[in-house]
Point group: C2
Chain length 234, copies 2
């Protein structure tokens, strides 16, 4: 992609030398070979982040659930389907990553039993037993070393600030990007997003509605800032 390479030549390489791991998209949790449980994530925010980080010189690995999107040629993309596949792929790469940005909307629950054949219509009702998927972000928060930066996302429909702060602390994140997916122009399948970025140090930035590529730049600006602060503190 020539345009991409030109854009990269014109972009300050302030993330050069950094290994950035991004996750994107929804996960699919099968009930049988045909049916699955999923969510409205389009993957656009994660792909915008992967692209923006690569443009700024980072070595980017993108672990992506099913989306119709394509990443730039210099992003290593690992396609996964279920939350457990994403867990495996992320954990495998986590050790070597400097920055991890978990933009994927991982399914919290999956059907306990996956039928090998298509479930035929039965009675009027069907009980579906769901079990918890592994909490990837919490696991990364536990494993995180001081030199690593962990950025999480929260899609909320209510009590945004309370849920966001609880998640930031509870999962040992450095930054949490929260959006109210019910707000017009924000959230799933939109090309725009309106987010609040909560930092571990208490700083909160409320951004106006903007293109997801611009939101990605804003998030990476904060990542770059935190990395600079750390270097100066050492």
């Amino acid at each position: 992609d020539i345009l991409y390479n030109v854009e990269k030549l014109l972009t300050p390489q302030d993330l050069a030398g950094l290994d950035v791991l991004v996750t994107a998209g929804p996960t699919r949790e099968p009930l049988d070979p045909v049916r699955y449980l999923t969510n409205r994530s389009s993957g656009k925010m994660g792909y915008a982040l992967a692209r923006a980080a690569a443009l700024r010189g980072a070595e980017v690995t993108l672990v992506s659930g099913p989306t119709g999107l394509t990443a730039p040629p210099d992003v290593v993309t690992i396609a996964v389907e279920t939350a457990r596949e994403m867990y495996e792929a992320v954990l495998q790469h986590f050790e070597q990553a400097d920055v991890v940005i978990k933009a994927a909307a991982v399914a919290d629950y999956r059907p306990q039993d996956v039928a090998g054949r298509k479930i035929k219509k039965q009675g009027q009702e069907l009980q579906l037993q769901l079990v918890h998927n592994p909490d990837i972000l919490a696991e990364l928060g536990r494993r995180k070393k001081d030199c690593q930066l962990l950025v999480g996302f929260a899609a909320e429909t209510n009590d945004l600030e309370r849920h966001a702060l609880a998640k930031l602390k509870g999962k040992n994140l450095d930054l949490l990007v929260a959006n109210d997916v019910t707000a017009p122009g924000a959230g799933f399948d939109c090309d725009t997003n309106q987010v609040k970025i909560f930092a571990r140090n208490g700083e909160v930035v409320s951004l106006p509605l903007m293109d997801k590529n611009k939101v990605a730049q804003q998030i990476l600006d904060r990542v770059a800032g935190l990395l600079t602060d750390r270097r100066e503190a050492n």
Copy 2:
């Protein structure tokens, strides 16, 4: 679309004057504003049918679940999300249709309760109570007049012939198009498909693996043939 118009000019208008109703894609059955239950239908088979019927001169209405596809400009497309929305849209149009081709993969079940807010993670397990969606095809079979032609689809993972014949009879169809979605190159999200077409009169045609546009033409050939037979019988 100039190419489409040229192709139409070159296509025999053997379905001219017919009102053809096609359904396509999956349905989405929400659990809450973010999560939903769905299936692997891409909508490609239904869109290929709508396009092929319009090229052959039919007035086509396409009732489509969420897909990334676009129909030709002379196809009236009605976008729906849930099985119940599809039921409403199809029933509204059914009376005036000469031919109905139900290529959509309608969800058999939906969550009984839809949460207005995103369900927060709770315990390790979650019971999801599913209830039956209305059976659109069966309802159309009940309402069908002698002058109407009803074509159904069956995506199977096992016992294809038995399931297909049961569906053809049970739902009062004129044609049933069955495919084994586990066969290589057949079924969901493929550009090709390998189908067996079962007719009410006992005729069974096994087609080789072919492009979905070609499968659509084969199905419409049989529809046109049945309509000619009827005209000649009267």
